[in-house]
């Protein structure tokens, strides 16, 4: 996460709490239909900016993520299917 010039691609589950990132790719095929649909409905899409707000108290799961103007909770395993490039503030 400290490559200064090259924006690197990490899973949303590896984003530090409180930081923002742009969605680079979503592994839709790796999710089942219902889950993929729900993520799309929440607004997950390539190019969208997300912010990791909170982590669940037990096992740092689930994740509270801000997508657009909405905050949603998703599990770590689904967050892993969302590839993001961190945005430096």
């Amino acid at each position: 996460m400290n490559a200064p010039f090259q924006p690197e691609l990490i899973g949303l589950d590896r984003l530090p709490v409180g930081s923002k990132a742009r969605i680079a790719s979503v592994d839709w095929a790796g999710l089942d239909d219902g889950e993929a649909n729900r993520l799309r409905q929440f607004g997950f899409d390539e190019g969208v900016i997300v912010e990791l707000l909170h982590l669940g108290p037990f096992g740092r799961d689930p994740l509270a993520v801000r997508v657009g103007r909405m905050t949603v909770a998703i599990r770590r395993k689904h967050a892993g299917a969302v590839g993001v490039t961190p945005i430096r503030q």
């Binding site: 799309r40 409905q41 899409d45 909170h54 982590l55 108290p57 037990f58 689930p62 103007r69 949603v72």
Partner: protein
């Protein structure tokens, strides 16, 4: 008779749809069910300015017309005119949360594409302003091609304009063009973002309230502590706040019993009214305040948006036993009643997650068990204060709830390892903005519950109480004999007693167990009726019932009885709703048997431990 024009209110979850529906229809609402599915149908009536009545229906919140849950399937089917038992709406009101347009516009665009006459309610504009967001409704109107009206449903702002617009729309002839839905989600989403960006006049970043609250309430350490504290306060309040109103109701019932005794001649009729109806139903009605306090908390937690946070905090733990955080809401509702709790499981997408949640939901202490707990605790647990105003009785009550919760978690764990083996599904939920629920909406919710409870008291409970009274009164005991030994109920009780004797249950309890299947609170009225018949002239109230219990039951028996009711086989309504939800008898029968076995083992263990400790 031509049916009234039908107007459906649709929108994303958390768009303030129900508040708008309430503002439009007031208290004239009906809650029913869609045939074949267990999705509630909320309908109401609205009178237009010229006096024409319109039927309104509040559709379940949906993110899109591609359903993920059964609720969303109903919304889609109603909008497409395919839902059994519902005609296609003549007009639609789509509700948008002004501060979440990017997302809500997508569903709105999809609905507008259907081609039905549509009005958009741009709701919660006040909250958007508070968050530093100013929107131009005329831009939206131009882009969407339908009327857009700014509303603040909870303050009734814009409601008159909405009605006017609806009036115009229903007066205009409509020729019913149906366009097929073709746009895909991603395309719609991008279009939604464009429109949303175009409609923004100004946006000042402000630290939002929800953000600040979440920093505390979802804090890894503070969050769970606050959740535990809220649960604890809730159960303490159920006890502490209800004392005064309970006493008033008790006073009224005692007065009624005295009046009936004076008016009616001694004999059959007086016994039926005083010992049967008044003693039985009265004993249950005194618990109304506690049940309403519990519902008050649940409605408040749901209305503020905290309930979803609780699900977030609990998800990992629930996941550990094979459930999802989503199960937290149905399970918490089951504290009020397992029937709405089991119905609420329809928001769980994964079938095995859902079935597990249904099977363990009855272990959550429902409000119908409160009367039983309260009576036994009041009779056997000293009302001493421990510290900081925390009472021992409240602590015991809390412990009973905790036992139920632990039982549910363990049962889920075992079920997921055994009969319902398989990977557990996901947890995806929106965390809505916090808001202060309208007092009116909370009161409306509580009144509905009170009505349902009193209706039960007047029908099922009255009916079973009278039947039990008859079984307990006939045949008449000869002088010197005890009525409960001679009667038919006594004989049935003796049969049950042979089974439950080893776990410390006496004859009176055995007689109460069977009618308690009708509704659990009947256990109290059944015991009240039995004792009232056995000792006429002692008064019918629960206060004297307490004293009778203290004389007739040992502490070990009382504790075993409490333990039994933690796991007690469900009431008939729970079994019926489980059958409906699981489409067959297999799972309800499984549920009844496993809970019966657990209840038996747990009550037995409690009894023998208590006896061994010399209690």
């Amino acid at each position: 008779m031509t049916p009234l024009p039908l107007v459906a209110v649709a929108g994303n979850p958390n768009a303030g749809k129900s508040a708008l529906f309430n503002a439009l229809t007031g208290a004239r609402q009906k809650v029913g069910n869609y045939p074949g599915v267990t999705v509630e149908r909320h309908s109401g009536r609205l009178t237009l300015a010229d006096g024409r009545p319109v039927e309104m229906v509040d559709l379940p919140g949906s993110y899109s017309l591609e359903p993920v849950s059964p609720d969303e399937a109903v919304t889609r089917d109603v909008l497409l005119g395919r839902q059994q038992g519902e005609r296609q709406p003549d007009a639609l009101i789509v509700v948008l949360d002004a501060s979440n347009l990017d997302n809500h516009l997508r569903f709105c665009l999809q609905v507008i594409e259907l081609g039905l006459p549509t009005i958009v309610a741009l709701n919660m504009v006040d909250l958007a302003k508070r968050d530093g967001l100013e929107l131009d409704a005329t831009v939206l109107e131009r882009e969407l091609g339908v009327p857009v009206i700014e509303t603040v449903a909870v303050r009734r702002k814009g409601i008159a304009e909405l009605q006017q617009s609806l009036d115009d729309m229903l007066s205009a002839p409509f020729c019913g063009v149906h366009k097929p839905v073709k746009s895909d989600l991603i395309h719609l989403q991008r279009r939604a973002r464009e429109i949303s960006a175009a409609a923004v006049i100004s946006e000042t970043p402000v630290r939002r309230w929800t953000h600040r609250l979440d920093a505390v309430l979802l804090h890894p350490i503070l969050g769970p502590l606050i959740l535990a504290a809220i649960m604890f306060i809730m159960f303490q309040a159920v006890f502490a706040w209800s004392e005064a109103p309970k006493a008033w109701i008790q006073g009224g019932i005692d007065w009624l019993a005295v009046q009936a005794t004076v008016v009616l001649p001694a004999g059959f009729l007086r016994s039926l009214v005083v010992d049967g109806a008044i003693a039985g139903v009265g004993a249950v009605v005194t618990f109304l305040p506690q049940i309403l306090i519990l519902f008050f908390f649940i409605l408040l937690l749901e209305g503020t948006g905290y309930m979803v946070r609780a699900a977030f905090l609990m998800d990992r733990l629930m996941h550990g036993v094979g459930l999802s955080g989503r199960a937290f809401i149905p399970l918490l509702s089951s504290f009020a009643c397992a029937v709405p709790g089991i119905m609420a499981t329809r928001t769980i997408d994964d079938p095995k997650d859902r079935l597990t949640t249904i099977l363990v939901a009855p272990l959550m202490t429902c409000s119908a068990r409160l009367p039983v707990y309260t009576l036994i605790i009041a009779a056997f647990i000293p009302n001493s204060r421990l510290a900081w105003g925390v009472g021992l009785q409240g602590v015991v009550m809390f412990a009973l709830y905790i036992t139920g919760i632990c039982g549910a978690l363990l049962a889920a764990l075992v079920l997921r390892r055994g009969v319902l083996k398989g990977a557990s599904g996901g947890f995806m939920m929106e965390l809505p903005k916090y808001q202060w629920p309208l007092l009116k909406d909370v009161v409306l919710g509580i009144l509905t519950r009170a009505q349902i409870f009193l209706k039960r008291a007047g029908t099922i409970i009255l009916g079973t109480t009278i039947i039990l009274w008859a079984l307990a009164s006939l045949p008449q005991a000869a002088p010197g004999q005890k009525q409960s030994d001679v009667s038919i109920a006594g004989a049935i009780g003796r049969g049950i007693e042979t089974v439950v004797r080893p776990i410390g249950f006496n004859h009176d309890i055995s007689m109460a167990l069977l009618p308690a299947m009708a509704a659990r609170e009947v256990a109290v009225s059944a015991i009240a009726t039995v004792y009232s018949i056995d000792s006429p002239g002692e008064g019918a109230g629960a206060s004297s019932l307490q004293e009778k219990l203290q004389h007739r039951w040992s502490l070990a028996t009382a504790l075993a009885f409490l333990a039994w009711f933690v796991f007690a086989p469900q009431c008939i309504s729970t079994i019926a709703v489980t059958r409906r939800e699981t489409n067959g008898w297999k799972w309800p029968l499984f549920m009844v048997s496993y809970l019966f076995v657990l209840a038996y083992i747990f009550a037995g263990a409690t009894y023998w431990t208590a006896v061994a400790l010399g209690l």
